[in-house]
């Protein structure tokens, strides 16, 4: 038997199950069902804590989540940086240290056992928060109506109401917040954690009321406790919180606590009734409460030696959840409390939370004694004097006083200080009680770890890693990968641990001189079908698609309404009323969504249907002078002879025995074929191509080589050389803008005054004077090398590579007035020195396109 434990009683503890725990290095004993706080009190640990700012001795003040003083760090058997001891369930091997102020991370994160965290979405007609009598009644009534009901309570013990068929009851479950339209997040914490995302038709808050203290000099001493908490320790945990007690209250139930204490063997030496004008004017003691001073109605002072002062200044309906979603308050004079008044139609309040609390005399702080010793917010160490200073400095609003004093902002979120502080402000300003409500409440209602909120979609599951059907081959052949949006694409294929630039050089030379194969499956693909498909595409692209011959392919550019380049790709005309449109990898979903938006919202009369087929087709791109031979060797029924299969046309047939569409499209400038095959056959066709290409020295190549090869031809990459602020004219692509075909998206913007300025940044090529010098992508460009500061910025480098084909470094850049600057010199100031470059056309390699037919 420990000094504070009663011989009998304690409805929530199991005396047959003793539990060993450690607090600040001392091993102690409690029972299953105890909280850490009740077990500490049972062991006579009345103090044991320090206030965060002033370092004053503190002890357990309350019995629930409203506890302002008793905060601990738990290091075993789980880790919690900061938790209220009143909410920590006592388990075997619990190791706790008192903490004041900021929590800290575990010294050895690897050794910490993390709980399993699950998230669950659940739909109910009624969510009831709070399992007391009124909550259970609301849940029972709804269940009997046939509603799906979820009843949650933050305590570990909960009497189940008689149920209908569809009621779920969760204990150890805290509603963290209630949000729009009846959406609530509930944190259920046992050994593991479940975060419930609740969508409720309506929400009932039966969250009870929290007792209010009275600010009197010395009220922060260990041994000063909320009266209801003292009662709870006796009744729930069989704990006597003191030996000699006094009770100071403004309401009937407060005095009822005196009876409970007496029955528990506590010597209640004095009850002080504020309703009649009696006051406790001071609590005295060194490390804990030892004595109180009482002022009687006839003005005398009496002293009493006590180690427990149970205080009840009234009851505040617990309305944090109500207020955070916009529920209003009004002040009730008789109850000296704020009660709910007006909120969303799907949200209601029952029981004590609705204002069914005892009537009482309003008493916020005792006039007598040192204001600087009358604590209002225990966790922020803020007193009546601090509030008086704020008010004295001119602050009138409770919200401003909050910001000046931090009252209500600690872990306990002002549960015992909020109303007290607001009424203290009103009183000091000479306002009527209830003139201002307490400061606003926001979720989460109680602390929740990032681990719990993050749920299962974190780490590797934070973002999907998307791969193509050929991915296993790339992995098996040692590809290095880069992220292209959510996709993992082969970046380069290093051989024998060669550095990246060697691999890229080798891959580029293979494509220019022999043949290479690239996995192009990630490109977006959309089927556009219907009698108005030609007209529709004419409106979406800058160039005409309606006169594209069936069997042919055309490159197209797509603009935003603001005239800026948005996406590009090729369109294949499959039939009079049918196109296959390709997009950039990153633009696939965006372009399809745009098509749908225009068709549904502006042009519902156009007979066009769009269907995504991005992953229906895997694509093998074979590029290089020997590409034709490799396609033949792979085995195809398509006539790939030069005359039979011209550039920018396609043929349907078979490759390697698999149905395929072959397209003569080239992003390298070399002879090239794209093989589009059903994705199930992607891997086998790729393997067939690599096998057939071996005698021709075929090399797999990745996105880096692809970037170099296309840059050598001056082909832009939307999103690399463009950034949403670049027009076709800026890119030197007037040839693709057909202004006579009728309106298309972006057409009107192209003649906005800002878009026709001649000093706009325009696409150019750059050849550094030092042929080996690689300009960094993003390097800023200036036209003078005088070093004058500030330097007017003339442009920036968008793409920069070492070119095996050119035998030198080169870059693409956006340069103000660049179209007229070919042959001039510009400079790139860099930390290591300024690089001079000659401006050229952006097509440094094979400018006449002679290599494309092989």
């Amino acid at each position: 038997m420990t000094p504070g434990r009663l011989a009998h009683g304690g409805a929530w503890i199991d005396r047959s199950k003793p539990v060993l725990f450690t607090f600040d290095g001392t091993e102690l004993e409690g029972f299953q069902g105890d909280t850490l706080a009740s077990a500490l009190l049972a062991n006579g640990v009345v103090g044991g804590f320090r206030s965060p700012i002033l370092g004053r001795p503190r002890g357990i003040h309350a019995a629930g989540v409203e506890e302002p003083n008793g905060y601990v760090e738990i290091s075993a058997p789980w880790f919690d940086a900061i938790a209220a001891a009143t909410t920590v369930p006592l388990v075997d091997g619990l190791v706790a240290r008192s903490r004041a102020g900021v929590g800290r991370l575990p010294e050895d994160p690897g050794s910490v056992a993390t709980p399993r965290v699950a998230h669950r979405f659940v739909h109910v007609e009624v969510l009831v928060v709070g399992g007391g009598a009124s909550g259970r009644a609301a849940a029972r009534a709804a269940s009997q109506e046939g509603d799906r009901v979820l009843l949650v309570d933050e305590h570990p013990v909960l009497d189940a109401p008689a149920t209908g068929s569809d009621m779920t009851i969760l204990a150890n479950a805290t509603a963290l917040g209630v949000y729009d339209d009846g959406y609530a997040v509930v944190l259920e914490r046992t050994v593991d954690i479940v975060v419930w995302h609740v969508r409720a038709g309506r929400v009932v808050l039966a969250t009870g009321a929290i007792e209010r203290p009275i600010a009197l000099a010395g009220n922060d001493l260990p041994g000063v406790m909320l009266a209801g908490a003292a009662q709870t320790y006796v009744e729930r945990y069989g704990v006597r919180p003191g030996e000699r007690a006094a009770v100071f209250a403004t309401n009937d139930p407060g005095f009822g606590v005196a009876d409970v204490l007496r029955q528990a063997g506590v010597d209640v030496v004095r009850t002080v009734d504020a309703r009649s004008g009696e006051l406790v004017i001071e609590a005295l003691g060194a490390e804990r409460l030892e004595r109180i001073l009482v002022r009687t109605t006839d003005g005398r002072e009496e002293a009493f030696d006590v180690d427990l002062l149970a205080v009840s200044g009234g009851w505040n309906p617990n309305l944090g959840l109500w207020r955070s979603i916009g529920g209003g308050l009004r002040y009730d004079d008789e109850r000296a409390a704020f009660v709910p008044d007006g909120g969303p139609p799907w949200l209601s309040v029952e029981g004590r939370a609705a204002g069914d609390v005892p009537a009482g005399t309003p008493l916020w702080f005792v006039e007598h004694g040192d204001d600087a010793a009358k604590f209002v917010d225990l966790q922020r160490d803020q007193t009546v004097a601090d509030i008086a200073e704020a008010v004295g400095g001119g602050l009138r609003s409770v919200e401003h006083v909050k910001r000046a004093t931090y009252i209500g902002t600690a872990v306990d979120q002002g549960r015992t200080s909020g109303v007290l502080a607001a009424e203290t402000v009103s009183r000091l300003l000479g306002e009527a009680a209830g003139a201002q409500g307490p400061s606003n409440a926001r979720p989460p209602y109680a602390p929740a770890s990032y681990l719990s909120l993050a749920g299962p979609t974190r780490g590797d599951l934070l973002d999907p890693i998307r791969t193509t059907p050929m991915h296993p081959w790339h992995v098996a052949h040692g590809a290095a990968f880069e992220n292209v949006g959510q996709w993992k694409r082969p970046w380069f294929f290093p051989r024998d641990a060669e550095p990246m630039h060697r691999a890229v050089e080798r891959e580029c030379l293979a494509v220019r001189n022999g043949v290479g194969a690239m996995d192009a499956s990630t490109l977006g693909k959309i089927e556009v079908v219907g009698a108005d498909a030609p007209a529709f595409l004419d409106r979406m692209y800058t160039n005409r698609m309606s006169n594209l011959a069936v069997g042919s392919i055309r490159y197209g550019l797509m603009l935003g309404l603001d005239g800026m380049v948005l996406d590009d790709g090729v369109a294949m005309r499959l039939a009079e009323d049918r196109y296959l449109v390709t997009t950039t990898t990153g633009g696939a979903a965006t372009v399809l969504d745009r098509f749908e938006e225009w068709l549904q919202t502006e042009w519902p009369d156009l007979r066009v249907y769009c269907t995504s087929v991005t992953e229906q087709w895997a694509v093998v791109a074979i590029n290089g002078p020997r590409a034709r031979e490799v396609v033949s060797a792979t085995g195809t029924d398509v006539d790939v002879a030069r005359e039979a299969f011209p550039f920018m046309t396609f043929r349907d047939g078979h490759v390697a025995g698999v149905p395929a569409r072959l397209a003569r499209v080239s992003f390298s400038g070399e002879l090239a074929y794209e093989l589009h095959v059903p994705a199930w056959h992607g891997l086998e066709v790729w393997e067939a191509v690599m096998a057939a290409g071996e005698p021709f020295g075929i090399e797999p190549y990745g996105t880096e080589a692809m970037h170099v090869l296309r840059a050598e031809k001056g082909y832009v990459i939307v999103g690399q050389d463009t950034d949403g602020s670049v027009t076709p004219h800026d890119l030197g692509m007037d040839w693709i803008v057909n202004l006579s075909k009728g309106d298309f998206i972006g057409r009107r913007s192209l003649r906005r005054s800002d878009l026709v300025r001649t000093d706009r940044k325009q696409l150019v090529g750059l050849l550094p004077d030092d042929a080996r010098a690689l300009l960094p992508e993003g390097a800023q460009l200036v036209v003078e090398d005088t070093g004058r500061i500030p330097m007017p910025l003339a442009g920036h480098v968008t793409s920069s590579y070492q070119s095996a084909a050119l035998g030198r470094a080169f870059a693409l850049a956006m340069l103000a007035g660049g179209h007229e600057m070919h042959g001039t010199t510009v400079f790139a100031p860099l930390p290591e020195g300024t690089l001079a470059c000659t401006v050229t056309s952006p097509v440094p390699y094979d400018p006449d396109g002679e290599r494309r037919d092989g």
């Binding site: 999907p464 009698a531 249907y609 991005t614 059903p678 086998e684």
Partner: protein, 171 residues
């Protein structure tokens, strides 16, 4: 020809969560005006599906997904093109465009509810229902069919879906 389905390497993992891949199903995306769809017997109530030799799933007011056994794509497409002849419509083979996972067992809806926000309670979700939604960061199509749940997802997201199912499954 050695076709390879998106989840060919994941059958053991799928088995751990009471699931399996339905590989190579025929899938055809049909878009046509609701009036045309009615003549074909397509379901016009949103988010419902009909089952039979082939399933027809409502995806939108003018879009349906036809699902059939492996190898039936060409036959189904020819049949549809004939039935829809003369109508403004689109019939597209999307058989490889989605991987299909079949989840069985009494806890399959709880499993899905770990990362999918739609109401899968029996009073809202039973045989003949289908819905497009999200499962974590993946867009999915769900179809409740004869006591099992089919989950359709783009192949490139299929591994993520399996990994997420494994993560949320009870230990």
């Amino acid at each position: 020809m050695t076709a390879r389905s998106p989840l060919a390497e994941r059958s053991a993992d799928l088995g751990r969560v009471g699931a399996r891949e339905l590989a190579f199903l025929s899938q055809i995306d049909v878009r046509v005006d609701p009036a045309g769809a009615t003549t074909l017997g397509f379901p016009t109530d949103p988010n419902t599906a009909t089952s039979g030799g082939r399933d027809v799933l409502w995806l939108g007011p003018d879009e349906w997904l036809i699902v059939g056994v492996p190898g039936a794509t060409t036959a189904i497409m020819h049949e549809l093109e004939a039935s829809l002849s003369g109508l403004h419509c689109s019939v597209v083979d999307v058989s490889a465009n989605r991987a299909v996972i079949e989840l069985a067992g009494p806890s399959r809806h709880d499993l899905l509810s770990s990362a999918c926000p739609i109401d899968l309670h029996p009073r809202s979700w039973d045989d003949g229902r289908c819905a497009q939604s999200v499962f974590g960061a993946a867009q999915v199509l769900l179809h409740e069919r004869e006591g099992v749940t089919r989950l359709f997802v783009r192949p490139s997201f299929a591994d993520y879906v399996v990994d997420l199912l494994l993560t949320v499954a009870p230990a």
